[in-house]
Amino acid sequence: MNLIKVENLKKDYINEDVVTSVLHGVSFSIEQGEFVAIMGPSGSGKSTLMHILSFLDRSTGGLYQFKGKDTKDFPDDYLATLRNREIGFVFQSFNLLSRTSVLDNVKLPLVYSDKKNQDQLAKKALDAVGLSHRLEYYTNQISGGEKQRVAIARALVCDPAVIFADEPTGNLDSKSGNIVMEILQRLNNEGRTIILVTHEQDTANHAKRIIRVKDGNIVADELVKTRTIASDGKELVK
């Protein structure tokens, strides 16, 4: 069974009777444990595709099956539950709560779940990104790279089936970006599905498979032949 399967997926934006078609009908499937990069230039529709796959938005046509079930008729509240349990997000601009501690930021998804021992779960997730020493720091007191690692810990904390990373290195220097990619690769090695959205070939090369999107269509779907392994991160976890 595919984790994610889309067939002829479409997305149109209707604005004052002008219909703008962003996705013209894309089809592919993603298995459990894959590391896929969705790649394309600005305006190609890659972000829209990610938002639909991660239940942040709905398609306007075609089929989207998640874990074998058609998502078309899922009500909004069930989509919220799915985002909470099955999806983790890492955004380009971090989207952390300001004036709030690192620990509380990581606990945010747990607040909307019925999980117990929330403090331990959050600490475990922070441990996995090497930030155990920053628990009580406020998000404005840490560096950009650390912010993105807090965001990864937040994405991990509910033990989701898939993590969506939308240009996770876009706002970071190359060293911090490398650390972030190393963490994502390690999580993938541990069996977690990662879907990376980027416009940079270098970043996409960290994945195992690249789906190329252009003008709302898939132009290529290929395995990465010479994969980049980010190893600089090892020193940081220790």
Partner: protein
């Protein structure tokens, strides 16, 4: 997500934004306290004004000699001396067959004099009246008794002191005023055959409990003597300056006014209304006039209170609007990590509820406290100021401020719930 964890979440959110929370609460505090203080001030002022009148009783008629215009003062105010009101009139009014609703009738004359005891000398005003006076005007005795019927009929040389007069004459020496004899100076110029320094010795039989002022006249700076003594020995006149009639119930005031008119017109052989030589005043009329004024005052103050609420509300609106973009993005993030629309709405509702109820509570306490301070100040200044906190003002203030807080607090939440999570997340 249960209620308890929502509360924890809300408290954490509010503490993380102390400045905004403080300003929101401040807006509500100002609005609520403003309304309570302003309305309490209105009620206090109203009680002060009306209290001056109602002290005399709302069922009291005063018959004064001389015709007056509908609302104008009686003739005697202009120096015209009308001498037609006398003891025959009073006797006729006391006839229960002719004026059935009169429970007590007391005649009065007034004047200024000076009283002496030992080496103390006090200028004061005197009221010559009858033993029925306490039945007509509410007074209580601090010591001794009022002039009794026998002393009244016999024109005994007795006097009842107002508390201020008693204090001034006797307090220094610590003497009990009862039984002491004071000298009251006669108006020598008006009484033929009396020496210039003539004075009347009077024995003190009672002291009246302090009453404050009525119609803005100090009621404690007065002495009361039998009306015959006042007429013959102090003033040298034979008529009354007023006859007061107490009516059994305020419902019967207008009937009694007609009865009194009939009786006096018969006594004075007057057939046409235009010839009437007396005026009947009643306190109910005065209360009505003053109520109209104080109600207008209350209305004005309520409008001021509404403005103060509006200002508080606009303050809250400002704060909410400034943060709406940030809050919308926050809602987008919360929805992205799994918050349902209901969870977001509950959080914002509880947040607005916490801020407004906290602000409302502080506002009520502050408003009552300040209103109380003002009433203390007014008492210290010698006014009969009532400390009144009306339930209506509290309900009004809380209602409006909660409405403002909740409406403006929920505004971003409703706005964001219409957006998809990703649109909320990207909101600028």
């Amino acid at each position: 997500m249960n209620f308890f964890s929502t509360i924890k979440l809300v408290i954490r959110t509010l503490l993380a934004r102390k400045g905004r929370s403080f300003l929101t609460i401040l807006g509500i505090v100002i609005g609520v306290a403003g309304v309570i203080i302003i309305i309490a001030l209105g009620a206090g002022a109203q009680s002060l004004v009306l209290g001056q009148v109602t002290k005399l009783g709302s069922d009291l008629l005063s018959i004064q000699p001389g015709k007056s215009n509908e609302k104008g003062p009686p003739a005697q105010v202009f120096g015209v001396v009308v001498t037609t009101l006398n003891e025959q009139d009073e006797a006729a009014l006391q006839d229960s067959g002719r004026v059935p609703h009169a429970t007590a009738v007391a005649a009065m004359v007034r004047g200024r004099t000076s009283v002496t005891w030992g080496n103390k000398n006090v200028d004061t005003s005197f009221v010559g009246t009858e033993y029925t006076y306490p039945k007509v005007v509410k007074i209580t005795m601090q010591e001794g008794q009022f002039i009794d019927q026998a002393q009244d009929r016999a024109a005994a040389n007795v006097v009842v002191l107002g508390s201020a007069v008693a204090k001034e004459l006797f307090e220094d020496s610590g003497t009990d005023p009862i039984g002491q004899v004071i000298k009251v100076k006669a108006n020598a110029a008006k009484i033929k055959g009396q020496a210039e320094s003539a004075s009347v010795p009077l024995r003190v039989v009672g002291v009246i409990t302090p009453r404050g002022s009525a119609f803005f006249q100090d009621q404690d700076d007065q002495i009361f003597i039998p009306v015959i003594i006042a007429q013959q020995q102090l003033l040298g006149i034979h008529y009354f300056q007023a006859i007061m009639v107490k009516v059994d119930s305020s419902d019967n005031v207008s009937q009694t006014i007609l009865d009194v008119k009939t009786v006096i017109n018969q006594q004075h052989h007057i057939k046409r209304e235009a010839d009437e030589d007396f005026t009947i005043r009643n306190t109910a009329d005065a209360i009505n006039i003053l109520s109209t004024i104080t109600n207008a005052l209350s209305l004005f103050l309520t409008a001021m209170a509404a403005i103060s609420l509006l200002v508080g509300g606009i303050g809250i609106l400002n704060i909410m609007l400034v943060t709406v973009a940030e809050r919308t993005r926050e809602i987008g993030l919360r929805k992205a990590v799994g918050a349902s629309n209901a969870a977001v709405r509950n959080q914002f509702l509880l947040e607005a509820g916490t801020l407004t109820s906290l602000g409302g509570f502080i506002g009520i306490i502050l408003g009552i406290f300040v209103a109380y301070l003002i009433s203390l100040l007014m008492h210290a200044l010698g006014y009969d100021w009532a400390f009144v906190i009306s339930l209506t003002s509290i309900i009004l203030a809380i209602g409006v401020s909660i409405l403002t807080g909740v409406v403006f607090g929920l505004y971003p939440a409703f706005k964001a719930s219409k957006l998809s999570p990703i649109d909320a997340l990207r909101y600028e």
